[in-house]
Amino acid sequence: MTTNTEENTRKNIIEFLIRFGDDRLILGHRLSEWCGHAPILEEDIALANIALDCIGQASSLLKLAVEIEGENRSEDDLAYLRNEREFKNIQLVEQPNEDFAYTIVRQFFYDTFAVLYLEKLQNSSLEDLAGIAAKSLKESKYHFRHSKEWMLRLGDGTEFSNQKVQSAVNDLWQFTDELFYEDEINTQLIEAGIIFPADEIKTEWIKIINEIFSRAKILLPRDGGMIYGGRNGIHSEYLGHLLAEMQIVARSYPNAKW
């Protein structure tokens, strides 16, 4: 019986690492699309920096997943050779950049969650995961400050910038509850002390969102339907297009080294 539980925990850890790693990989790739296109030079550099942090965090998490898996796969195999349905990121992070306000709102929702969740996760009983979380937390705090500052500047800026942010909030709100999605994989890992219930931080997340929205003169959308599915490989139409671009070099030239 013990071995069954251990095996189950091992599989669930791998799945959790892939879910968590995919969030950062896909968001990092999305942000990298701004490189050379951002509205001002400082933002071009900032978004590329944040993208790099996200991809670095993804790389650590996916590497840990394949190490635990022990089937001779690399983190690059996971990033470049899986198909759309095998990606387990939440749908929020795959949403297209649209405009700068849209990107900032997406990032703000995500960063607020990341900081709060990583603060918990750095106490994981899985030492390697705790280490990655503590490391990522330091970076996510900078990301949070960046997206928060822009929320305030754009929201409480001109009528036009406020409208852009409000419209992005209205569009993206439906993807936010998936940040807190949990299933039996989470339940088992929570019992094992490896991860923590996302519910524990939900109140704090909403509190921060409300506070910044109020300072940014942004209205919280009325409760509507929420979209889930990413954690089980169900995605919006945008992920496939993103993967096509992200994976084409690795798939066209298998095992290429550079």
Binding site: G28, E42, E43, I45, A46, N49, I50, L52, D53, C54, I55, G56, Q57, S59, S60, V115, E127, D128, A130, G131, I132, A134, K135, S136, L137, K138, E139, S140, K141, Y142, F144, R145, H146, E149, I208
Partner: protein, 166 residues
């Protein structure tokens, strides 16, 4: 055969001090706190390193440089292991290291790494590494590398980089 008996960790560390940080060549990887320790496993040298930032693109170069320098010293089968605990912090930079940064034109990290993420952007003025004026402003918290922020000195009209406190 490599064991603690015939190779001294101290001299290996001295050897690794010859490796410059690829982004900040005025500092070496030991004083940067990137090298976390040396172990002997299965008669091989294992050098433990930790990234300054998760996505730091210099890590691969650093790893190769470590392996090259050990190879040249007659340790062909060495390993480099990346560790994450404890997470790298600017608190590890000594005063001497900080003054090297300043001389190089990068404002060194001020104070200890802070923990409250809800606080507003750095309010303490960062001193210009060129003219030492404190009349400077933050342009962006993200600079030419992940570890630096962009500042501007109102006194000498010089843009400069600040090594972020993490």
């Amino acid at each position: 055969m490599v064991t603690e008996m015939n190779v001294d960790k101290e001299s290996l560390l001295n050897l690794l001090e010859e490796i410059e940080d690829p982004e900040i060549p005025v500092l070496n990887i030991v004083e940067m706190g990137i090298v976390r320790g040396i172990d002997f496993v299965d008669e091989k040298i294992v050098v433990k390193i930790t990234p300054t930032y998760s996505g730091c693109p210099a890590m691969k170069t650093i790893e190769n440089q470590i392996l090259d320098i050990l190879f040249d010293q007659g340790f062909p089968n060495s390993h480099v292991k990346t560790v994450y605990t404890p997470a790298w912090t600017t608190d590890w930079l000594s005063d001497e290291t900080k003054s090297k940064l300043r001389d190089y034109g990068i404002a060194p990290p001020k104070g200890k790494s802070e923990d409250d993420f809800l606080q507003e952007v750095i309010t303490k003025p960062v001193q210009c590494p060129f003219c030492e004026s404190k009349d400077t402003i933050l342009k962006s918290e993200f600079g030419s590398t992940a570890c630096k922020a962009l500042h501007y000195c109102n006194n000498c009209s010089q843009p400069f980089e600040y090594f972020k406190c993490i």
